[in-house]
Amino acid sequence: MGVIWGLLLALLSVAFSQDVIRFGAAVSLTGKFAKEGQLVKRGYELWKERVNASGGIKVGNKRYKVDIVYYDDQSDPLTSARLVEKLIIEDKINFILGPYGSAQVFSVAPIVEKYGALMVQAGGASSEIYKKGYKNIFGLYTVAPFYGRDLVELATKLDKDAKRIAIIYEKDIFSEDVASGALEHAKKKGLEVVLYEGYPKQVQDLSSLMQKIRLLKPDIVIGSGHFQDAVLTVKQLKQFGINPKFLGLTVGPALPAFVQALGEDAEGIFGPVQWSPALKYKDPVFGSTEEFVKLYRERFNSDPEYHVAGAVAAGVVFQKAIEDAGSLEVDKVRDALRKIKLETLFGVVGFDETGKIITKPMAIIQIQKGRHVTVYPFEEAKPIYPKPQWK
């Protein structure tokens, strides 16, 4: 009898004391990027719950549960760097899930590299991140210049004689990168760039810029920044009575909070997205994109944004690399990441030697009757053009 009890107890203890892989993430839960940061955290959590529900990550013949330690970096790059350093040296965590925002990724990357940890991020699209020769940094976002290039491409496709374009951008390494992509493509397309100007990150009042735009009367306005900037730009364009035929804004339009904040005024605005629920991909953890979207709609009764999908994909990619490497050693997992070629709900994931994703295209959505609809590269619905006047 004693033996059986002993066996049972041993089995039980194995089940309960199952080993755990700890991941760390310093994300913006407050501050300027609070909206986007909370979505990234939600993506990581969805992946964690799903993995733990299906038995955890298989490494060799053992199964590991997933645990994620979160810190709030208050949307400040330096705090992000210090918190990731704290994760690595105090909490002894070597697998880092990236923060939101290119500035944060840019500040965290040297810390991860210095301590020989490993980071997979779905929050920073600036190409600057991949020019530093880092070995342990992997990003799932198509780089920022494509945001700007695709917006200009769509604008010229919709209206041949819309020639005057104004580009304003938040002075941040992501937004500047997007703006430079738009500028380059606008010149290639022979558009007349009437304004190309940045504004400081913490500015909450763009009246000087608005006076210029009102004077220049551009056909196309591209606003590159984060969620807060998009909302501010729309409010002030309306306040100054400026009605461009084509209005493209980054990050903002993709979030449901954008429509909640602006209601009527959000109609007809275009927004580049890393991913759209209308895409069709298979996924090793969630089955397929549709299943993920269905699960998300049931739980949060709204369409998933690209920030959530990207974060989930980051988890899935990290998991697959660990399973391929069959070990928890950073170097082995990194080599697995370098060689990975995986179709996920976010798209096909494959990295070049700098850790940049090269296998995933961008898409553009438009806000029509309060919902976002993919209009580029394929048309889920006809794009409305020109943009309806402010009410």
């Binding site: 407050t30 501050g31 300027k32 609070a34 208050q74 949307s75 002075k171 100007e197 940045g198 504004y199 400081p200 913490q202 500015v203 909450q204 009042d205 763009l206 009246s207 000087s208 810029l209 006076q211 210029k212 009102r214 004077l215 807060q228 501010l232 409010k235 309306k238 306040q239 100054f240 009575g241």
Partner: protein
């Protein structure tokens, strides 16, 4: 060419607000000689108060007077609990005290309201007034008028009432005032509480004008400091002139050089004035 007039209109509207914004700072500095580095945080406390009252469905006609009242009280508390303890030490220690207080206040605001960007957007104020092809946003116009009234009231108080005269006497010559039976301690308390009330009032207007976060206090204090140094202390012309110079430099450098250059240009002007004319353009008291 009419863009110049448009910019002048913007500058005028902004100057009106900046005059109110720096009136408290100038009063405190002029009367008790204290440079209150926590001034910006008091402005933000005012902004958050009005924002919260508005969230609680309270009408602004009640929210603003309540905020001003709270400002008066907190001024008295600030003077008695903190400032009076260090008043007869090196003025430098007060600088460190108010800086620590500023850090405490902004972090407390961050603790309660989180670091998100808040703003008080009233439907009625979100449009603009179009005069031929000049544009005057309603919120800026309203804030300009209310600030003007507030400064007028302040002037009447300082010139008209007995305590007002006593405050001005102390600001010119503390010893002289004391000899005519004025108790400077009491006057300091009144001027500090008046200053914090003005700060909180201008905080409420700040919320109407633009979004704000708990960490904007540094920029606000610097603007008030600019107005006092450039305009000079001790009279209302200095205040108005300093605000006009600040508004003009911000609006024009913002338009012609870019948003980022607003603060840089105003700081360059500030440092130049500190070097060559510390008592300011119209100041009577040595800054």
């Amino acid at each position: 060419m009419e863009i110049i007039f448009q910019l002048l209109i913007d500058a005028l509207l902004l100057a009106g607000y900046y005059a109110l914004l720096s009136s408290g700072f100038s009063l405190m500095w002029g009367v008790s000689g204290i440079i209150n580095l926590a001034y910006g945080s008091f402005v933000l406390v005012g902004a958050y108060l009005v924002y919260t009252f508005h969230l609680l469905e309270m009408s602004l006609f009640l929210a603003f007077p309540l905020t001003v009242a709270l400002g008066l009280i907190s001024g008295v508390v600030l003077q008695h609990l903190l400032i009076n303890r260090l008043i007869n030490y090196e003025p430098f220690t007060l600088l460190v005290l108010t800086f620590g207080f500023d850090m405490l206040l902004s972090n407390l605001l961050n603790f309660f309201f989180k670091a998100d960007v808040r703003s008080l957007t009233l439907e009625s104020l979100s449009g603009s007034l179009f005069v031929s092809h000049f544009i005057v946003p309603y919120n800026k116009l309203l804030v300009f008028l209310l600030s003007f009234l507030a400064i007028l009231a302040l002037q009447l108080y300082l010139k008209g009432t007995w305590t007002g005269k006593a405050i001005r006497a102390v600001s010119f010559d503390r010893v002289g005032a004391e000899l005519c039976g004025i108790n400077p301690g009491k006057i300091y308390t009144i001027s500090t509480s008046l200053a914090t009330a003005l700060a909180m009032l201008s905080g409420g207007f700040y919320a109407l004008l633009q979004g704000f976060t708990p960490f904007d206090s540094g920029g606000i204090t610097l603007k008030a400091f600019f107005v006092c140094v450039v305009g000079g202390l001790g009279n209302v012309h200095g205040l108005l002139l300093g605000s006009l110079v600040l508004a003009l430099s911000e609006v024009f450098s913002g338009f012609y050089l870019g948003e980022g250059w607003k603060v840089v240009i105003s700081l360059v002007i500030l440092v130049l004035f500190l070097l060559w004319k510390p008592q300011g353009v119209a100041g009577v008291k040595y800054a």
